[in-house]
Symmetry: C2
Subunit: 245 residues, 2 copies
């Protein structure tokens, strides 16, 4: 039934980018579960430093046939030329699958359109095979799952939302306070304490929340400044009230 109604999984699509959501297998859309089931091959990104794929383990919760999974090591290089070459290499097995007429899906955390390796992979595939049939099935973002977990709205009525990775200079967040009602901060990583300090200095203790590992076993949620004392910032999302008037 998802097939007939879903414009996201056209029958012609040979490569589908799928967002598996932030961690809870129950958040996978029905159309994505169906597309994974119908795929000949399931690609999933891993980093050079960790061969485990969180995206694959989330999809595993829906009963994926593990023999279909093929891991792709995605590039971490900083200089553009090296990165470009690495992406060409990473895309090679996907190109091969397409050339062989296979139906392929690519699993990515969260939503494929938001800070995802899918964006780079798709660009590379389109550059090499301009006529390839490509589709995307959206996924649930960590921001939405974090808000659900906290029981807080992200935005209501006429409110305005800003979503950004923690800036290299945390003070850059100041520019968004007067323009946003809610600021969502991603990619906090090892800098949670730095963000907590900024929150304290701005008097936002009661207005800043954090969810760590939303939907995963190690999930924790609460006031950002409390969690900063005991948690790391990896795979976490901060929700901060803005000061727009």
């Amino acid at each position: 039934m998802a097939d007939k109604k879903s414009p996201h999984t056209r029958a012609t699509a040979k490569l589908i980018g799928i967002g598996v959501g932030p961690g809870d297998p129950g958040l996978l859309p029905l159309a994505s579960a169906q597309a994974i089931k119908e795929a000949d091959i399931v690609f999933t990104p891993v980093s050079r430093f960790s061969k485990a794929s969180l995206a694959a383990s989330i999809a595993a919760g829906t009963g994926i046939d593990e023999s279909k999974i093929q891991k792709i090591t995605f590039p971490m290089a900083k200089d553009t030329e090296t990165l470009q070459k690495a992406w060409t290499q990473a895309a090679a097995p996907v190109i091969k699958a397409l050339d062989n007429g296979l139906r392929a899906v690519f699993l990515t955390l969260g939503d494929p359109s938001v800070y995802s390796t899918w964006i780079y992979l798709r660009r590379e595939v389109e550059a090499q095979r301009p006529s390839a049939s490509i589709a995307v099935i959206p996924g649930i973002m960590a921001a939405n799952a974090a808000a659900a977990r906290l029981g807080l709205p992200l935005v209501e009525g006429k409110e305005r939302l800003v979503l950004l990775p923690l800036p290299e200079k945390v003070g850059e967040l100041d520019a968004y306070l007067p323009l946003a009602d809610r600021i969502v901060v991603y990619k906090i990583g090892s800098r949670l304490e730095e963000l907590a300090l900024w929150v304290r200095e701005r008097g936002l203790d009661e207005q800043a929340h954090l969810v760590v590992g939303v939907g995963l076993d190690r999930e924790a949620a609460g006031r950002l400044i409390d969690l900063a004392e005991k948690e790391q910032g990896y795979l976490s999302v901060a929700l901060i009230r803005g000061r727009r008037e």
Copy 2:
């Protein structure tokens, strides 16, 4: 299987807010389909002017038992006191279901944490029944589905996203151009031409896209200024490139 793994559908929850996504029934999360199936009663909002519930019709695509559905007319009043009274009245059947020990779900378009009637309903239920067990299962936002449909990223790398309803004064969007890499505009309604004029005046013709009725039969996607000539802005999402440097 979604049950065991999903922290969003705790067995104790008696009222669950569910986002059915923007239009395509295939985008409903597995956990939501399960929760709807297990519910004794399914509430869904309708407006006073249209008794049809788009949220219910999306869920219908997943084979919901229609006899469980109960429509709630949600208030549209502008003055706060009238609105508050109207919400108290709208929440009455939900309170009654909780008092009777029923498992209830409330369906809403997109994600329950984003510009949703759920936010107000939940607030009212919590005010009247502070000990009620309430959970939220997130849903896919129109913004993510629109990006998937257009094949465009929302944000990549260090980019920053702004999401807001079309401001009463369209010129307020100017403030976000230097701070955002991508601006998502909701609630365009009858003012699509006005937004198209702003896009033209800023020289953003090639940087502004629109998806109308994403996932619905009447879906249309393309350059905003082209679509503004033939489409209405109801249930549409604009994606506009910002000018952050």
